[in-house]
């Protein structure tokens, strides 16, 4: 084995140990734990409220669209934080515009995306 791969050897040990121990405890619980099956225990647990209907249930595609839009804009906003923090220090070095324009382009793209979603009706719940 080459020295590089050798560096990762402890990692392998940890993974093996994790596997062994978790497997061991599951097995021990299974082997020695008391078993009293009861319909209530096997039932779906939903905050104490009795479950209704089947879990394999068709959702409206609108939920997915909303989820996707949320994810997109949420992730994109994350980029704004480091930028906002660094903006001042860049500006003090006279590089304000250089850091301003890329973000402007980025937000412009976002705006086009938003416009597109809006026009396509992705933001309307009822069409």
């Amino acid at each position: 084995m080459t020295p590089q791969l050798g560096q990762y050897f402890p990692l392998l040990i940890i993974m093996l140990m994790a596997l062994v121990f978790s497997g061991l405890f599951i097995f021990l619980a299974f082997a020695f734990g008391p078993k009293n099956p009861d319909p209530n225990k096997l039932d779906v647990y939903e905050c104490g409220v009795p479950a209704t209907g089947d879990a394999r249930h068709r959702f409206s595609v609108k939920f997915f669209i909303v989820a996707m839009i949320f994810l997109l804009f949420d992730v994109e906003v994350v980029f704004l934080f480091p930028w906002a923090i660094l903006l001042k220090s860049f500006k003090s070095q006279g590089m304000g515009w250089e850091i301003f324009w890329p973000m402007a382009v980025f937000l412009g793209m976002l705006a086009v995306g938003l416009f597109y979603e809006w026009k396509r009706g992705a933001l309307d719940w009822e069409k």
Binding site: T2, P3, Q4, E98, G108, M109, V112, F115, Y116
Partner: protein, 501 residues
């Protein structure tokens, strides 16, 4: 880091044009009416032509921007030029295909622009992460395009299949890149090439290279990573299939050329042998599997596999020990251009044969077309025999140059096998021709009228197939002059050298 905006605009304005155009077309297409489809189409067509003109006239400076994220050299410009032409042709196809639908699928044109942006970026970068990003931009757009015949389950099936296997390919690619990074500490290929590799890292590096090769083999449908091709080709709309067949090949082989250029300098893996084996497998499986197909689209899928095999043989000719024979790139570039032209020609015909979103691609449906529609049948015949490599068409000279180059560099047996498989390919390329001419038409054949643009385009493609076949000299000298380094490169349109000394 100071963003050098001026050189960016100066050397990459066509790329920016495509990018801005893609967003603009997203806005213009959003109304979903036939009129907005037309406006978007004209916009996209103009953008592609403008960008093609730009790439053809720009002076390659072999200059890297922002740590290799963008690189302006002859190879990148030439391939981008090809991609833009392919894009422009696809836009014309889309007009013919979608315009006569009551409600055109409006995302098609912006997606084509985004996919083209990805392809162009792919051939203009030496940075591995940008490469992956570009590849994903291209692939994601293509997955949606493939599934854009929403009414047809086959289209959805194709999209899912392409998506799953494409993701696997991307995973291989990323994994390989992480190995390369681990071995060299570099993400930029041009820097990676300047570095000496310590022998203890050779294993990491080799694994990385292999994974990269596999990733790209998926993309060009090289055997044994070709299983998606027939289903995806069959399921996607004809214009998209043409775009995919031609464009992805150009982009992926462009990236492959760049990788090889750097990778050969470590003389470890028997890269040449590896490529030869891959190419032989690909040309054999592609050509033999095509023999049994009864659908023109599936035939084209396997033909694309087979041509990937010939191109891989071309790649193998570039590797000699630790030397990358840059001068040999010319025949590969010529082949890529020719293959793109001819494939687009066949798919132009398939686009014409489809009406109202219903595709005609079964060989039996072509029966008697030579009598009901002589002009289109003749054009399709020209493209098919040219793909088969019959003189005096472009396909022959392209294959000829490629095999001649292989023999010249000592790959005699692979070249002989290649020529033999190419002779086999004649049989399936003639299959549609037999149906069109040797059988009487069955039933009513109503061919939807072709748009003017389509007629002009097809005439251009046919003329191109003959022109490149009869007078390839100038274009071969031109593609032979394309280099990765600045000193020997010239802009594509100005000063084509006349002869090679």
């Amino acid at each position: 880091m100071k963003p050098d905006a001026l050189p960016l605009i100066h050397t990459f304005w066509p790329l920016l044009l495509i990018g801005v155009g893609a967003f603009a077309s997203l806005i213009t297409s959003v109304w979903g009416s036939v009129r907005s489809f037309r406006v978007t189409g004209l916009l996209a067509f103009g953008i592609f032509l403008g960008a093609a003109y730009g790439f053809a006239t720009l002076d390659p400076v072999a200059h890297s921007l922002a740590g290799g994220i963008l690189r302006a050299d002859g190879l990148g410009y030439f391939l981008s030029f090809l991609i833009c032409l392919i894009g422009a042709v696809t836009v014309v196809f889309s007009f013919n295909y979608w315009e006569n639908l009551s409600e055109p699928v409006q995302e098609v044109l912006p997606l084509i622009l985004f996919a083209a942006l990805g392809m162009v970026l792919m051939v203009l970068t030496t940075h591995l992460l940008t490469l992956v990003l570009a590849l994903e931009l291209m692939s994601l757009s293509l997955y949606v395009l493939v599934g854009s015949r929403r009414a047809d389950p086959k289209s959805s099936e194709a999209a899912i299949k392409y998506f799953l296997l494409g993701s696997v390919a991307a995973a291989f690619l990323l994994f390989g890149i992480s190995f390369l990074y681990g071995a060299t500490g570099q993400m930029d290929l041009s820097l990676m090439g300047q570095q000496a590799l310590s022998p203890d890292k050779a294993l990491l590096f080799q694994v990385g290279v292999l994974l990269l090769l596999i990733g790209f083999a998926f993309k060009v449908a090289a055997v044994p990573f070709h299983f998606w091709a027939p289903d995806v080709y069959e399921g996607s709309p004809a214009p998209v299939t043409g775009f995919m067949a031609a464009g992805v090949k150009v982009a992926a082989f462009g990236a492959w050329l760049r990788l090889l250029h750097v990778l050969v300098s470590w003389e470890f893996l028997e890269l040449r042998t590896l490529l030869v084996i891959l190419s032989l497998l690909t040309m054999f499986v592609g050509n033999l599997a095509a023999l049994r197909q009864r659908s023109l689209k599936r035939i084209m899928a396997y033909s694309s596999v087979a041509h990937a095999g010939y191109l891989l043989l071309g790649l193998a000719t570039l590797v000699e020990g630790a030397v990358f024979l840059e001068a040999g790139m010319g025949v590969i570039l010529f082949y890529l251009g020719t293959y793109g032209l001819l494939t687009l020609g066949v798919f132009a015909m398939l686009t014409l044969f489809s009406s109202k979103g219903k595709e005609i691609s079964k060989l039996d449906d072509l029966k008697g077309l030579g009598y009901t529609n002589p002009v289109f049948a003749a054009a399709l015949t020209v493209f098919l025999i040219s793909l088969a490599g019959i003189p005096p068409t472009a396909g022959f000279v392209a294959k000829y140059f490629l095999f001649a180059r292989a023999i010249e560099t000592g790959l005699i047996w692979p070249a002989i096998l290649g020529i033999l498989t190419s002779a086999v390919s004649l049989y399936y390329y003639l299959g549609p021709v037999v149906q069109m001419y040797f059988h009487d038409p069955v039933g009513e054949k109503s061919m939807p009228a072709a748009t003017l643009g389509m007629k002009v385009l097809v005439s251009f493609l046919v003329l191109g197939a003959f022109y490149l076949g009869l007078f390839p000299g100038k274009y071969l000298t031109w593609s032979n002059g394309i280099r990765l380094e600045a000193s020997r490169s010239t802009p594509i349109l100005s000063g084509m050298p006349q002869t090679r000394p």
